[in-house]
Symmetry: C2
Subunit: 478 residues, 2 copies
Amino acid sequence: MAFELVGNPNVIEMEYAVRGPIPQRAAELRKQGRKIVPCNIGNPQALGQKPLTFYRQVLSLVEDPARIGRERALNRMLEEGAGSRSGPLERFPEYVLEVGERVLAGLESGLGAYTESKGPAFIREAVARFIDQRDGVASSGGPPCDPERVFLTNGASEGAKRIIELLIAGPKDGIMIPIPQYPLYSASIRQCGGVAVGYYPDEDRGWTLERPILDEAYQRAGAQGVRVKGIVVINPGNPTGAVLPEQSVRDVLDFAAARELVVIADEVYQENTYGAEFVSFARVLGRGDLPLFSLHSVSKGFYGECGHRGGYLEVRNPPRLKGVGLGACDVLLKQASVSLCSNTVGQVLTYLLVSPPPAGSEPSALFALEKQRVLDTLLEKATMVKAAFREMQGVECFGRIGALYLFPRLGQLPPGTTDFDYCMSLLEATGLSTVNGSGFGQREGTQHLRIAFLPEKALLEEVLPQWVRFHNQYVARK
Amino acid sequence: MAFELVGNPNVIEMEYAVRGPIPQRAAELRKQGRKIVPCNIGNPQALGQKPLTFYRQVLSLVEDPARIGRERALNRMLEEGAGSRSGPLERFPEYVLEVGERVLAGLESGLGAYTESKGPAFIREAVARFIDQRDGVASSGGPPCDPERVFLTNGASEGAKRIIELLIAGPKDGIMIPIPQYPLYSASIRQCGGVAVGYYPDEDRGWTLERPILDEAYQRAGAQGVRVKGIVVINPGNPTGAVLPEQSVRDVLDFAAARELVVIADEVYQENTYGAEFVSFARVLGRGDLPLFSLHSVSKGFYGECGHRGGYLEVRNPPRLKGVGLGACDVLLKQASVSLCSNTVGQVLTYLLVSPPPAGSEPSALFALEKQRVLDTLLEKATMVKAAFREMQGVECFGRIGALYLFPRLGQLPPGTTDFDYCMSLLEATGLSTVNGSGFGQREGTQHLRIAFLPEKALLEEVLPQWVRFHNQYVARK
């Protein structure tokens, strides 16, 4: 039997360049023994970034609570002068053991039980405290975050998908997304059968946003009969890396209020600003009554714990849903219920992210050192890559350094070639795996690529000169 | 501004009784200080089941690889005669340390990196070996499982949702589901805008299946203009607990072949058969060319690791998709890519599930003991609950004991009352949280409830007599 069926076109046609043909070709080359430098995805630990000691020690204790007693007994043995022939073992920090016990007490049944669909209350409460402290609620008098409106998720992607699924009620429903954008948004909107309405941050002015940019996109969509229901903003940007100034955040909120749109703020790179100030949408919204959905994740920042798939979605002013007597949070809870709960290890990591060891506690010095080392190294690597761009004919890169990415404009490519061709050739020539700008969307007539500035410095020193040579030969072709 | 929007009706209207009004009321009562016995969900570790030592030790090592060297050093100290004042510490099993190292080698970048979207190859290969061994492929000459067609998922739910999303291409597309069924299926079909077509296993004959039952449902759907595309079978059953005989499996496959339907085999309870033989769909399919999607999970069985959200989806004979030059696995891969990957800890636990310590290895005796203890205790508890049913007027419970549930038929309830009313009153009277049969669907005119037989025996001994009293008073009401 030649079995064939009609599949769901929304799923069949969605595209996801970050895991698309270029990384697939890279995987093939790697199997053949080629050395690949995987810069197509923000996956720091795949490129040698070490996890933070504190996080992993706590997770290890919570997975195997017997370790807590074991480490206490070992600490006593060490105090009594016991030692190993192969050198002294270090004391295990008592504070970390206490955090492990605190997490286990909060979880009640350990990591192996389903939690509340939203996640355990003690973690949602810690998330709320973190948000309030980040946004200076105590001094600004802004409204505090409500832990009942925090949903723990498997990474930020899951939260984003649920909001989109809730908003898209028909084929003419649209959501505004920045161009370029992280393809999770275009793919999820496509998957839900809606329309992605692109708006174009101003590349030459560092990818900033102003009202006319947003109004133009909204009106264009309206002229095509699209009912716009929300706007996605990624800050710091992905793929652009741009950190939005407060005025841009304000402009988005004013625009959304004027048009009665919900705002979806993807803030997963909020720690990756390298000195620039991060201004959250919740902080600027303050006492405003606009619906706001904010996303965060354990995957990025200085933590880089992508594989653990932890994150949260926070809702302000949840909109009511017409004619059904329910609010957006009621439906988000139903959606979470069908998946039972997000993974508990990701939940605990989210708790640790929002509850760093306080200054003066035993692990705080090492924690601060490891954190600063990651952030400093990322900035150094970004600076190295940016420097290489200056040696590449026609390449320009705008905006402050943020997130984990640079998104250079490639200038004039040989006639008939695209940024996809360029990235594929770059991969074949140097082993460097990037993503073509068209995978994120870009203004017509421009060509870009996204590179995650994650490889170790020694590797960058090796591959960047190869890239410069490749580039200058490539663009010189007729 | 009174913000109101039109939400997606498919998401708004889906229902999920396992986390519905009764457990929500139970949570309220619990907050008020009432003692609740949560039997509404198969969540063993929430009710005191201990995780298996081997699993958790490995996960603890993999979260904090420094522990491997630390435990080796401690083992040396213990060999040298060091001891703690509070009693001797036990040696850490070398075999477990080696498994930790093997997993870390397989993962390459530890738990903190995104893996391949499908999951790491070494885990998918171990899943394939497990399936082949379970199904006796070496002796039967059946086709081996292809690791490229194994997808690791966040629990089995994620795999089920992806298949449904792929199959439902329009509002007249239907998928056959058993009635009663696990509400993941009805909710996901609803969410995707398709039609759930119920078929009715024969309760009085132990919930078995025969061709006429399936043909009747198919024809009924066809008469309503529904295009049936697949059939879901849950074996062992949820909520019924029934273990299907080989002939029922064969009947489903023959039916699906005759009607050109794909088969979705939810086999997450394959270890929960308490002596009955589990016959997988893959084994009976053998060299047949029918598309088969099989699901498994770390949440059930004797492992009960619900919170870790691990599982896999295995595809046999992936169907081609009409007119697009893609097969089902290509689209499943795209769907997985948008979520980047499932959580790595759940992936590793899936690896451990399919790679138990071999007989004779250091942890194998304890592992076998813990496993048997869980399964024996579950059977004892199910037997206790079944015995209580015999004291309840009019209650009947059919089928062999399987999965983690009993699904008794409640007999005649007082006029005007439903099984929902019964379950709510039972909760208020005794603290026992169950799910009404109508939450799973049931033949019209019958009333049921589902109870997960998970509370500790002492707790059951306390609550079962209360339930018997409640029941006999309830049904005596006019």
